[in-house]
C-alpha cells in the first residue's frame, strides 16, 4: 500500500516532526483530555455509589445478570483486537502501511484490554474479593477452581492477552524512547534513559530485536484468533438458545477486528491533526485501515445472516423464537441499529471517494463503534431476558448507574490514551523510517534507477 506513497520527507525529518508535535499539541488536545476526565469522573462516582449501595443500583436482576457490564467487557476486549492484528498479523504479511499506525493501535489494545478487565471487577460487586475468586487457587475447602468452566478460560485468555500486548508494546517503544533521551536534557533525559534500558541502536541490538519481533508476531497471531473465541465461549458453551452455536468464535473474532479497525480510525484521525502528523500518517494509510474495516464488515454481515439461517434451518422452535424476537420484539431497535451500523453503512466504503473523504469515513467508523456495542448488547440481553423459566421473563433496559459507568469506561480509555500521546510518540519512529525512502547515496540511487526506471 505505502509502496505507492510518494514521500516528500526523508528519515531525517521523522524525529523532529513527531517529537515537536508531542511537545506542542493543538489546543483541542487539552479540550479532549478535559472531556475524557469529566466522563471518567462520572463513571467513578457511579461505581462508588454502586459499591456503597450494592448491586441493586445496577438494575441487574434475574434473569438478566449479564447486562451492560458484560456487554462492555466484550466490547472493549474486541476493540483491542485490531491492535494485535495490525502489529502482529500485518507484520507477518509485510503490510507496510501498518508502520504508521501500529503504535497507536498497540496502545489502543493495551488501554482497551485494561478497560475490559475492569468490568468483571465492577460486575462482581464486591471487588475486594475478586482477585481471590479469579486466581486459580484452591478455596478454603481445598477445592480447586473449575478448569472446565469457560469463565476461568477467559481469565487466562485475557490475562495472557494483556501481558503479551503490554510487553511488546513497551518493547516496541524502547528505540523511540532512546531517540527522545538523546534530544532532551536534565531529569527528562534520566527518566527516558532509564525507560529505554540504555538502548544504543547497535546493529547487534537491532538484530536480536528484529528476531524477537518476528517470534512475538508468530505468538501473537493465534492470540488474535483465540482471545475473542474464548470470550465467545463464555456464551456459546452454555445451552442458552441464541448463544449455543458453533459460529460464535469466528463471528466474534470478525466483529472484534471490525470494531477495532473502526476505533483505530476514530482515534488516529483527530490525533494526527492534534499532533500535526498528517505528513506521516498519510491518507493512503488511513484508506488501508478502511479497507480492512470493509472486509470485516462483510464477514460480520455474513455471520448475521448465517446465524438466522441456521436458527431457522435447525427447526428448533426455541432457537428460532429468540432470533425472531431479536428482529421484531422489544429489542428490535438494538437489532436494526446493529445491522445498519455494522453491515449497511460500511458498504459506502466500497467507494474510493468515500474512503478518501475523511469526515464521511470518520462518521461511518463512529457508527460502526456504536453498532458493535449494540451487537454485544443484543446478543447478551436478548439471549438472557427469556430464559427457561417463563415466570421470570421480563424486560431489561440499562439503568442510569450502568450507563454512567459505561460513559466512565470511555473516559478511562480515552484519558489514558491521551496521556500516552503526550509523553510517548504516537507513531513508531524507528518503524516509520523503514517504509520511507532509504538513505542511499546518489551513486547507489542512480544504480537502482538504472536497474528499475520505475523505482
Amino acid at each position: 500500500m505505502s509502496d505507492e506513497v510518494k514521500w516528500d520527507k526523508s528519515i531525517s525529518d521523522v524525529n523532529d516532526a513527531i517529537l515537536i508535535g508531542i511537545d506542542s499539541p493543538q489546543k483541542s488536545y487539552y479540550f479532549a483530555l478535559a472531556a475524557s476526565v469529566v466522563c471518567l469522573l462520572i463513571g467513578v462516582v457511579a461505581w462508588a455509589l454502586q459499591i456503597s449501595y450494592g448491586m441493586g443500583l445496577s438494575g441487574l436482576n434475574s434473569p438478566v445478570y449479564w447486562g451492560v457490564y458484560i456487554t462492555n467487557f466484550v466490547f472493549w476486549v474486541g476493540i483491542g483486537h485490531a491492535g494485535t492484528l495490525i502489529s502482529a498479523i500485518l507484520f507477518l504479511f509485510r503490510a507496510k502501511w501498518r508502520n504508521s499506525i501500529n503504535r497507536s493501535a498497540e496502545a489502543m489494545t493495551v488501554f482497551a484490554v485494561i478497560t475490559a478487565g475492569l468490568f468483571p471487577l465492577i460486575h462482581v460487586g464486591r471487588i475486594w474479593f475478586a482477585p481471590y475468586w479469579m486466581a486459580p487457587l484452591p478455596n478454603t475447602n481445598n477445592l480447586w477452581v473449575n478448569f472446565r468452566s469457560p469463565l476461568i478460560w477467559d481469565v487466562f485468555a485475557i490475562s495472557t492477552y494483556l501481558t503479551v500486548s503490554l510487553l511488546f508494546w513497551y518493547m516496541g517503544l524502547v528505540p523511540d524512547l532512546a531517540s527522545i533521551r538523546d534530544r532532551v536534557k536534565g531529569v527528562r533525559r534520566l527518566v527516558y534513559g532509564l525507560m529505554s534500558f540504555g538502548w544504543t541502536g547497535s546493529v547487534r541490538q537491532w538484530h536480536h530485536y528484529e528476531a524477537g519481533y518476528g517470534c512475538r508476531a508468530a505468538l501473537a497471531t493465534p492470540l488474535v484468533l483465540s482471545v475473542h473465541s474464548i470470550v465467545s465461549w463464555d456464551l456459546a458453551m452454555s445451552i442458552q438458545p441464541g448463544w449455543h452455536t458453533t459460529i460464535f468464535p469466528p463471528y466474534f473474532v470478525a466483529g472484534a477486528i471490525l470494531s477495532g479497525c473502526a476505533m483505530v480510525y476514530t482515534l488516529v484521525v483527530p490525533l494526527r491533526w492534534m499532533f500535526k502528523l498528517e505528513s506521516y500518517i498519510r491518507p493512503e494509510h488511513l484508506e488501508a485501515c478502511l479497507k480492512l474495516t470493509l472486509l470485516t464488515s462483510t464477514i460480520v454481515a455474513y455471520a448475521y445472516g448465517i446465524e438466522f439461517f441456521v436458527a431457522w434451518y435447525s427447526g428448533n422452535p426455541f432457537e428460532w423464537g429468540i432470533f425472531e424476537k431479536r428482529a421484531t420484539g422489544p429489542y428490535a431497535f438494538y437489532f436494526w441499529t446493529m445491522v445498519f451500523c455494522n453491515c449497511v453503512f460500511p458498504l459506502l466504503l466500497w467507494s474510493r471517494r468515500v474512503r478518501y473523504h475523511i469526515p464521511t469515513a470518520y462518521a461511518i467508523c463512529v457508527l460502526v463503534n456504536i453498532g458493535m456495542w449494540f451487537e454485544r448488547y443484543n446478543i447478551i440481553v436478548s439471549g438472557l431476558v427469556e430464559d427457561f423459566i417463563p415466570g421470570s421473563w421480563g424486560h431489561y433496559e440499562p439503568s442510569l448507574t450502568e450507563m454512567a459507568i459505561t460513559v466512565g469506561s470511555f473516559g478511562w480509555f480515552f484519558f489514558w490514551f491521551f496521556i500516552f500521546c503526550r509523553f510517548f510518540p504516537l507513531v513508531s519512529m524507528s518503524e516509520l523510517k523503514l517504509i520511507m525512502p532509504k538513505p542511499w547515496s546518489s551513486d547507489k540511487l542512480k544504480k537502482i534507477q538504472g536497474a528499475n526506471p520505475h523505482a
Partner: protein, 172 residues
Amino acid sequence: MRKKDTKGILGIFSHLDHVCDAMEKIKSRDDFAGHAVYSPTSYHELEHAAGYGPSAVRWFTLTGALSGIACGFGLPLFTDWDWPLVVGGKTAGIPSLPVDLVFGFELMVLMGAIATILGMLVMGRLPNPKDKIFDVRTTNDKFAIFVPGANLEGAQAKFLRDCGAEEVNVTT
C-alpha cells in the same frame, strides 16, 4: 552492568550503502577488533553486511513456549489428581484433555512471549542505562562505526573516510 572500552574513533555516515560497504570490507581486516555499528533503525542490509547468523532469541522463545505448554497442561492435570471431582458417579480423575488445551495454548503464548522479551534483553545486553552513547544522531538519522583503541591518524580512520564517513571523531 557491562564495561566496555569507549576510547577510540567514531565514523559518522549518512548513507546506508556506504556503511554496508564498510562493514563488508571490515570483515577482511584485523585492525577493527571489537568494533560496533550503530543505526537509527533496523535495516536488513546492515544485518546481512554484518553476517550475523540466526538470532538465539528464537531458542528463548521455544524454551518459554514449551515450558508454557507443560505448565498449562500440568496445572489442571494436577488439580484433577489432587481433588478428583465425581460427577454422576463416573470414574473420577479422568483428565479433560480437550479443556486443558486452552490452558496449554494460553500459557504457551504467555511464557513464550515473556521468554522472547528476556531473550531480546539478554542477547541485546540490556538493560544497560550507563552504556556510552557515542553520538546522539545515531538514534535519529545517522549511522556510525565505532573502533576501540584507534586514533585519528591511524589506518582505521583513513579507511572509514575512504568508505564515505562524513566525520571521524575521537571518543573518550
